[in-house]
C-alpha cells in the first residue's frame, strides 16, 4: 500500500523491495546449499521429463524454491498446452 502511494505521488520505488527479494532468494540457497546454476539444471531436467508426457509452454514455465516459516518448497507452474498423443 505504501509502495502504491509512493508510486502515485511520483517518488521512486524503495530499495527495501530489492532487499527483500534478494534476501528471500539468498536464504533459500543458503539453506538448501544449491547454487542457482544447479537449480537451473534441475529445472531443465524436470521440464524435459514433463515434456515427454504433455506438451508444455516452455517459455512460461515458472520454477523456483520458496521459503515460508523456515520450510523450503519447490514451487513450479508449468502451463500445459495438451497431452502428447501416446506413442503406443
Amino acid at each position: 500500500m505504501m509502495e502504491l502511494i509512493n508510486r502515485v505521488f511520483g517518488s521512486r520505488l524503495g530499495s527495501k523491495d530489492d532487499a527483500k527479494a534478494r534476501l528471500k532468494l539468498l536464504l533459500v540457497h543458503d539453506q538448501v546449499d544449491l547454487s542457482p546454476a544447479q537449480l537451473d539444471s534441475m529445472k531443465a531436467e524436470i521440464i524435459e521429463v514433463i515434456g515427454r508426457y504433455v506438451e508444455i509452454d516452455r517459455d512460461s514455465v515458472d520454477f523456483k524454491l520458496e521459503r515460508s516459516n523456515g520450510e523450503i518448497a519447490l514451487v513450479s507452474n508449468v502451463p500445459v498446452r495438451r497431452v502428447v498423443a501416446r506413442a503406443v
Binding site: 509512493n6 539468498l26 515460508s68
Partner: protein, 269 residues
C-alpha cells in the same frame, strides 16, 4: 527460577554488546539480580559500555583456570547493587575456554543470580559455541540489512540445532524515516523472513553513542526513547505479557499525512 540468556547475531557490530548492557541494566532496575558475562574473549567491550573498565582485576579466564574465585572476578555496579559484570580476558583468545567450562561457570552463576546474560562474540566458531553452551534461551540481534538478516538466519538455525528453544528477535538500528519512504525493511518484512517471535525494536539513535561515551547505558535514562525500548524488552524477557510497543515519533509532515490517512503501518519499539 534463574535463567541464562545468550545475546547473539552472527554478524559483527549489530548491537549485541549494547543490547547485553541495556537488557542487564533494565532487568536489574526491575529488581532482578543480574550477572552479565562478556564472552568476547580477546575483544572485551562490555566493561567500557557499562563504565566499569577501571575496576577489573580478574576476568572470566582467571575464574575458569582457577586463579581466583568467581566472587572475586564479579564487579558490582555502583549504580545498581544487584548488577554484576564478569569481564572477558583481553590478552587471551577464544580457545582459552571450552563449552564444558562455560556450562559449569553458568551453572555456578545461576545458583546466585536471577538472570545470567551472555554477550556473545560475532561469528559461528569457538566463541559462539562457548556462549551458547550454558544458555537456556537465545535472543538474536539483527539490523534491517540484507547481510545482518542473512547471518541472523544462519545463527537461528545453529541455535535451534543446539536445542535452545524458540529464539527471539531484536531489530536494532531501526529507522522509521527510511521505512516510511520504502528504503528500509520494516518489522513485518523481517519477521516474515526470519519467522521467529519479536521481542523488541530499537531505534537507531544518538543516545546510544552518548551513553557509550559516558559509560552509562541508555536504559538508565528515563527520558530516552531508546532507553524505554530496552526497558520494555526487559519486561517482555521477564515474562510480562502484552507490553505495548512505544510509538516512534512522527518524522515529518508527509509521514503524518500518510498516518492520518491510515496508510502507514503502526510504528513501534
Amino acid at each position: 527460577m534463574s535463567e541464562c540468556i545468550v545475546i547473539t547475531s552472527g554478524k559483527g557490530g549489530v548491537g549485541k554488546t549494547t543490547t547485553s548492557a541495556n537488557l542487564s541494566v533494565s532487568l536489574a532496575m526491575m529488581g532482578h539480580k543480574v550477572a552479565v558475562v562478556d564472552a568476547d574473549i580477546g575483544l572485551r567491550n562490555l566493561d567500557v559500555i557499562l563504565g566499569l573498565e577501571n575496576r577489573i582485576v580478574y576476568d572470566l579466564v582467571h575464574v575458569i583456570e582457577g586463579e581466583c574465585r568467581l566472587k572475586q572476578a564479579l564487579i558490582r555496579d555502583k549504580r545498581l547493587e544487584n548488577l554484576f559484570l564478569l569481564p572477558a580476558a583481553q590478552t587471551r583468545d577464544k580457545s582459552a575456554v571450552n563449552p564444558e567450562q562455560m556450562r559449569k561457570l553458568v551453572e555456578q552463576l545461576k545458583a546466585e543470580f536471577d538472570y545470567v546474560i551472555i554477550d556473545c562474540p560475532a561469528g559461528i566458531e569457538q566463541g559462539f559455541k562457548n556462549s551458547i553452551a550454558g544458555a537456556d534461551k537465545a535472543i538474536i540481534v539483527t539490523t534491517p540489512e540484507v547481510s545482518a538478516i542473512r547471518d541472523a538466519d544462519r545463527i537461528i538455525g545453529l541455535v535451534e540445532a543446539a536445542e535452545l528453544p524458540e529464539p527471539r528477535l531484536i531489530i536494532n538500528r531501526f529507522r522509521q524515516k527510511m521505512v516510511d519512504r520504502g528504503d528500509m525493511l520494516n518489522k513485518d518484512d523481517i519477521l516474515e523472513i526470519l519467522a521467529i517471535p519479536l521481542i523488541g525494536v530499537v531505534p537507531d539513535h544518538e543516545d546510544i553513542i552518548v551513553s557509550a561515551n559516558r559509560g552509562a547505558p541508555v536504559a538508565f535514562d528515563d527520558t530516552s526513547v531508546v532507553g524505554e525500548a530496552y526497558r520494555r524488552i526487559a519486561r517482555r524477557v521477564s515474562g510480562e505479557a502484552d507490553v505495548p510497543f512505544v510509538a516512534l515519533q512522527p518524522v515529518g509532515i508527509w509521514e503524518n499525512v500518510k498516518r492520518w490517512m491510515g496508510l502507514s503501518a503502526k510504528a513501534g519499539v
